[in-house]
Symmetry: C2
Subunit: 139 residues, 2 copies
């Protein structure tokens, strides 16, 4: 199977790679949130839209289509009046949701540090600029 390289790291670093493409579809503004929401349970379209605050109908629809196409989300149409459509994570979707939720939670737990870092950074740029290092290199 490992017929191409050392392989300890994923080949995401190559430009024409599927993983990169999939990752990109997974890390759009709304797909992360949609997955995180669906990890909590199934949602109907408008309920999901309410949960993922700020998403437009168009973008939610588009995002869900992308996730469905990639096999992360399943879409179940109930033939009722009015129509109901239930969205839920597939098994594959749940596997992806793990890392995604983990990332979201880690980010959430780092908010204070990031805010502080931004403040420091922005302060540095408006004030003077100190030299960080003075070590010469031989190369």
């Amino acid at each position: 199977m490992t017929d191409q390289a050392t392989f300890r790291e994923p080949d995401v670093f190559e430009r024409k790679c599927m993983s990169r493409d999939i990752l990109h579809g997974l890390t759009t503004r709304w797909s992360v949130l949609a997955i995180a929401a669906l990890a909590e349970g199934d949602f109907r379209f408008n309920a999901l839209r309410r949960r993922v605050d700020g998403v437009s109908e168009r973008m939610l629809s588009q995002t869900l289509q992308g996730l469905e196409r990639d096999g992360f989300v399943s879409r179940t149409v109930l033939q009722t009046i009015p129509p109901r459509v239930e969205y839920s994570l597939t098994d594959l979707g749940h596997r992806l949701a793990g890392p995604v939720l983990n990332l979201v939670e880690t980010v959430h737990g780092s908010v204070d540090e990031v805010v502080a870092a931004r403040a420091r950074y922005d302060a540095d740029r408006s004030g003077d600029r100190q030299s960080v290092d003075g070590v010469p290199a031989s190369d």
Copy 2:
């Protein structure tokens, strides 16, 4: 503290939230790859650019600035001729890199399934469209 809701989940779902903003800066096309690369070790600008295949100078620079601002990456300027700039993950950056690498690896391990899912999806849309469910609802 929990004056707004149940709160068991992060507040990423609210539109004007820091976590969402940070997450967005973290899930751009190149920041994920940059973090994954830097998780392997320190890199100088052009080395990193070679590692993250396909990124332009401008976008790498911009991405790194964003990551530095948020405190994920530290930038060390060596005052040499020619100049050297070393990029590395901060502690915070390493904490974030965990989930990120996890996601990348999970994606990498799911490529086959996603490819299959896409094939199925695309085939369905070009062919006929079967009804998925017929259960009526009472609500």
